[in-house]
Structure formats: C-alpha cells, structure tokens
Symmetry: C2
Subunit: 399 residues, 2 copies
C-alpha cells in the first residue's frame, strides 16, 4: 500500500482499466450467472452497509431476508411452521440467505451430521463408523469441499443413460453409516433433474435426510411448462439449496437454504456473545444485507409472471440452439430439460479452444462424456445464437 | 411470491420502509463494522456483476483481488514468493479474499488439517487420534463453528490477568495430536493482542502452525503509535485473517486470508470442471468481485496515511471515553490497546438494557467478567462520547 493515497480520479482510472478486462457476458455461454436485474442493483446500493450478522442493528434488512425466505418457501412449497417466539426463525418458513450454493450445500450436510450425532434424528441402526452421504456423480464440486472439510464420507452414485442418478446405484451405496442422500434439480453439466420423487421414497424407507441442490434449477423448474417434482411437495425432501444470484437475477452473493423443519437450524447454532442476538446458525458471521434487499426487490418486482417470462425466453433460446445445431449435424446428448445443452461435437476440447481464441465465445466442456456445454442465459440474444452456430460450423469444419 | 410483480415505486417504498428500521450507526458502540467509505461503495457498484468464482471471465476483477492481496501482504510483511507459473497464486503474496473472518478462520484450520493429514507438514510425532488446535478462550465464536464442522478438537487456553492468552496454559494443552495454535490480534471482547511472538516460539518449538486472527486488528495495529508484533515478521506465523469490511472501511463481504506458503492454498484445492479455471481453493464458489474492487479502491485512496488518521481518530475517541468514564467513577478492565473498551460498571446487563431502551445506545457485554463493551468506530463522534457519558451517569445513578 502506498504511504499517500491516490486521488479519486486516479483510483477510478485504475478500476476502469481493470473493468475493461472483464467479460461483459457478451458471447458467454458457459456461466450460470448473468447480469443482475437493475432493480436488484439499486436495492443492493440502498442497503450497502447492512450487516445481517448483527440482526438487532439491522432489523429492517433482516425483515427483508425473512420475506425472501417466505417467498422462496412459497415457491418451493415449504410447509408453514408456527413458531412465533423462536429466535432463529421468525418467518413461517425455515431457512436463511447464504453466500451461494456451496455454503448451502455445506450447511445442509452439517445439519444432517449434527442431527444424527446429537441423536435428534432416529436412525434405524446406530452409526458404526464415519457417517456417509450418497450423492450423484453429477453433483457440483462443492460436495468435494464437503468431503474435504466435514469428516464425512461422500459416496458417488452412477448416472443412468439420461444422466440422472441411477437409483439402483444409490440403493447399493446406502449402508448403516449413511445419514443422507443428495439429489440435483438442474445439474451443472447437463441441466438434468434427478428423480427426486424416487430418491424421496428411498430416503423415507431408509430414514435418511434428502437434500436437493436446486442452486440453478430452483428459479427455472417451477416456471417450466411441465415442471418435475423437486421441492418440499415431495415428502422426503428435508432441505433445498436455491441461488437467487443465478436465474433469480439478484446480485452476488445471494444463495438460500431452506429446511423442512426448524430442528435443522437449531442443530447449526453456536452461541454469540457480544452481539444483539444470542446465537447464530449461519456459516459466515458478517453477512450482506445488500444482497437480501436485492433479492427481495427483484422477486417482488418480477413476481411469478416475470420469472416465467425469463425462463420461457431462455428455453426459446435453448430450442433455437438445438434446432440450429441439428441443422449443422450436431445432436444434444439429452433432450434439454432446462436451459443447458450438452452438445455432441467431435474434438470438443479443441473446438472450445478455437471458439474462444478465434471468435471470443466462452463455452465449457462436460466431463463424461466430453461434450460442448452451453448455458442459455438472459444475457444471450437470438441473433447471438445464429452467430454462434455459424462460428461453430466454421470451427468444426476446419478441425 | 405474487403472481404479478409490483411497480418499481411500490418495491422501493417497501424497501425504504424496511430501511427506516435499520440502525444507521448513530449511537452504535457495539459493532466492529461501520459505514463503508464512499469510494468503496462506488467501486462496489462498478463491479456489481463480477464473479470471482469464474476467474477466466472476470480477469480484471481478479487482478484487483490479486492487487489487494499484494497490498495486504505488504501491510502484514508477508514474504514475497516467486511462482510465476502457478495457477493458484499469481500475486507475489499467497492468499485470497474471503467473505470475512469466519471463512478465513475455517479455511486456515482446514489448511492445517489437510497439510498434516497429507503428510506435507512434518510433525515431531505422527497423529494418534483426532487432531487438535489450541486457541485462546477469548477467540471469536467462529472457532465454535470450526469445532462443530471440521472433525477437529478445539482446546481453549485460559487468559492471563491482562486478558491475553496464558502461555503456560497453551503449552499444557499441546499434545501429540496438536497441529496448530491460534493467536488473536485484537480480540473481539477486549481488543487485546495475544503475545504472538511468544506463541510463535512455542509453535516453532513444537512444529505447529500458527494462525493469527487479525480480523479486527489487522487494519488497526499497524497504524498504532507503538504497534506490537503480530504479523508475518514473527517467524512462526503461518497464516493471518484480516477483514477489510471492519476497520478497512470496505463493503460487506470483504475478508482476507493470507498464507506464508503456497502449500496451504494447494492443500485447499478441489478440481473445478466446467469453469475457466482448473481448481478452486476458496470456500465459496461464486464470489463477489464487487467487494474486491471496493477494497482495492479504498486501500489505494486512503493509503497508509489515511488508515493511520482513521486509527488515530478512533484512538482519540477511546481515550476521551476512558477519561470521561473515570471522571464518573468507572475504570476500564484493562488499559485499552486498541479502540475497544471493557468498562467495569455494576449491573452491566441492566445498564446495557437501559442505555438502549431509554437512550438508544447500542452497547454490548463481555462474557467473563461481565463488563460494558464499547467499540469506538469511525462513525462515532466526540460529541457522542459526551452524550453517552451523561446517559451512562444517569442510568447507573438510578439503578
């Protein structure tokens, strides 16, 4: 750090220079994030100093957080809980706003572990060793962090031919030390939705928790023409991760974690002396009230109708992309379920590289099999699809 | 969520209403956060959509993050490392921007655990059971989260008469399964600084890691008239947590974690398919580039000189408060080391309650012993100190 500070002008010239190196989402087909809605950005600014880590000081921002949790609960059919005097959960729905899917997934698994080890969840048999969870092979890499941190074994079930979790594989991996299952509602690579209703049956039968990672799908699936069951309507689902900073069009960091029962939040509590509240169940301490306000604002502004239009738009782009790709000879790995396409293209790694280096398109690659992964987001436009397909045709013809 | 959205005007009227319930830091003497600097707020707005979880797309925001890490490294005397081709650490200093002190503390301990269990850190004796860390009793409650999550035993050393960690107690708690020590540079309750140089000797002698939690003190201690040793200048210190969103005057969420050696970051890595980078060592996935820009901006704008003035101002308020308290008969528990006062007042819990209910002052209480805890921040003004002391006199006289 310099001894003397720079002038405001010097600082902003430095920042603008860096800003010019950022991608502006033009020609980005690889990201599950997008431009936040302008209402979200304004609301974020209004609450820029609010700290949800100190609820007593920021009662207004906290009320916005609770309102978001309530609205998300409505969206995801969370059961309404009547607990007026409860410190942790003043809303009728149980949950809180996280920094994103990773924190939500970590906390969901931490809750499972704490409920089991504290004896608050009755398991058929007592644990005889390291507790484990069974997740699909397609689960996001945040579960590698869970595995690394939490002293929990993470068992990976194989996928079926449609890239949903293989139920027989899940059942085979469950043993006396299993505490929970994870299903993905909109997996990162294929946009596929695991059979949550079937996972629920397995979970209930084996007295296991079932966490649904709907970080991406949570703001997509409810607005599809034929939504698949994935939320609290499915009886075995005990927690859901949903990210407003992805298809919810809010600002970063905006994740959310909802629980079916308040015992989960209770299991995450640590005491908090020297704060205006007595305990804290969140992973982080100081938390952005600005993001809570941003999410509240955009959800109220768009309503179900606005999000439905947003999803319709992305699905139209998706259809257009698939149709165009078929015309130049490339098939999707599966018929897209949401706005993610895994496109079978020869030499996909090389194609990816050349699309970027020659034409500035950011795309990514699925792991197994290696296909071109395209996420169609609100920042993409129909004319971009046509340009992309032209460039894809050129690149693949010349490889 | 409503079927139809609200108008922009309705949304903002709803938000403004909530905003009016938030405390504006006027009469807040209990928080370690404050108004972010206006330069930070503007920079945050400029980078509102930047996602540091996808570095390839946001190369500019990433450069700002690396510049912040470099500047923090300079401030904290981090050794310069030459590793030009390294993916994880392009800066000459090793670290990254976190969501705050809690994530930094969690990741520091996770790094210790991973380095030990992977055999990359030679311990005198092999681990024979659950690894443990030794922390001061005065450590922040984030270490309760570490204990709860990480499958690590957290052993708490007692404090000496000055509320620094008792070195004999630390030594007594170290055993064959100990992997690291934690020292606090500016603890939350007393603003006290543990004897980091002595902890360093113990750490080196026992081949243990030493993490310094300077979440609050990191932007205070270097700017005090007589700074105590607490940073990488002390040879045994292996990692430091420092929070720009506290006395660094940046926006939420802005924490930072610095390591002496790149092996720490390497030990935290998980693979990241379908991103523009190959691996990720951060706790969260999607990360706020806005906060990185905000921190970079305010550090460049203020420079050492600006932060020194900020600390001088807070220390002057602290002296004024202590002098005034003495005049009405109340002594501080220890002579304040930084801008935190633990004031010995009879019936402190009742006094706290009445200060809030009758006069709107937010103060907090230390645990053992129970004293009135006052944090003097940039948002406080000299005239507020006088008003507070008048109100304190009234309240204590009438109890």
């Amino acid at each position: 750090m310099n001894e003397h500070g720079l002038s405001e002008r010097e600082v902003f010239s430095y920042l603008e220079n860096a800003k010019s190196e950022d991608t502006d989402y033009y020609r980005v087909l690889s990201s599950m994030c997008t431009h936040p809605h302008k209402i979200a950005v304004e609301a974020h600014r209004l609450f820029i100093e609010a700290n949800l880590g100190d609820l007593g000081l920021f009662a207004g921002a906290h009320r916005l957080e609770q309102e978001v949790v309530r609205m998300l609960g409505e969206l995801l059919h969370a059961p309404s809980i009547d607990f007026p005097s409860r410190d942790s959960c003043k809303s009728s729905v149980c949950g809180y706003l996280t920094t994103g899917g990773t924190e939500s997934n970590i906390q969901a698994v931490r809750g499972m572990k704490n409920l089991v080890t504290s004896g608050r969840k009755g398991l058929k048999k007592g644990l005889k060793g390291t507790p484990n969870i069974v997740i699909p092979e397609s689960a996001h890499f945040s579960f590698d962090k869970v595995a690394d941190m939490m002293g929990i074994e993470v068992r990976r079930a194989s996928l079926d031919s449609e890239f949903r979790v293989n139920l027989a594989s899940v059942e085979k991996l469950i043993n006396a030390n299993s505490i929970g299952l994870v299903g993905i509602a909109g997996n990162t690579e294929f946009g596929q939705i695991d059979p949550i209703d079937k996972l629920s049956e397995i979970a209930l039968e084996n007295e296991l928790f079932l966490h649904v990672d709907a970080a991406f799908g949570g703001f997509v699936i409810p607005f599809l023409e034929k939504p698949q069951p994935f939320d609290f309507k499915v009886p075995g689902v005990t927690s859901i991760a949903i990210d407003p900073h992805k298809m919810g069009l809010s600002t970063i960091p905006s994740g959310a974690l909802l629980f079916r029962s308040p015992s989960f939040l209770d299991s995450l509590k640590v005491n908090t002396p020297y704060l205006t509240t007595k305990s804290q169940f969140t992973l982080t301490g100081t938390r952005s009230g600005a993001s809570a306000a941003a999410t509240c604002a955009v959800m109220k502004y768009l309503g179900n109708e606005g999000y439905r239009k947003n999803v319709q738009y992305c699905m139209q782009l998706t259809s257009k992309m698939v149709e165009g790709a078929r015309k130049i000879g490339f098939e999707p790995l599966i018929e897209p379920v949401m706005n993610v396409i895994a496109l079978k293209v020869p030499n996909s790694d090389l194609v990816r590289e050349q699309l970027l280096n020659r034409f500035g398109w950011n795309v990514s690659i699925t792991r197994t099999p290696r296909t071109l992964r395209l996420v169609l987001m609100p920042h993409n436009r129909p004319e971009d699809i046509e340009l992309f397909l032209q460039d894809l045709k050129k690149v693949t013809a010349e490889i």
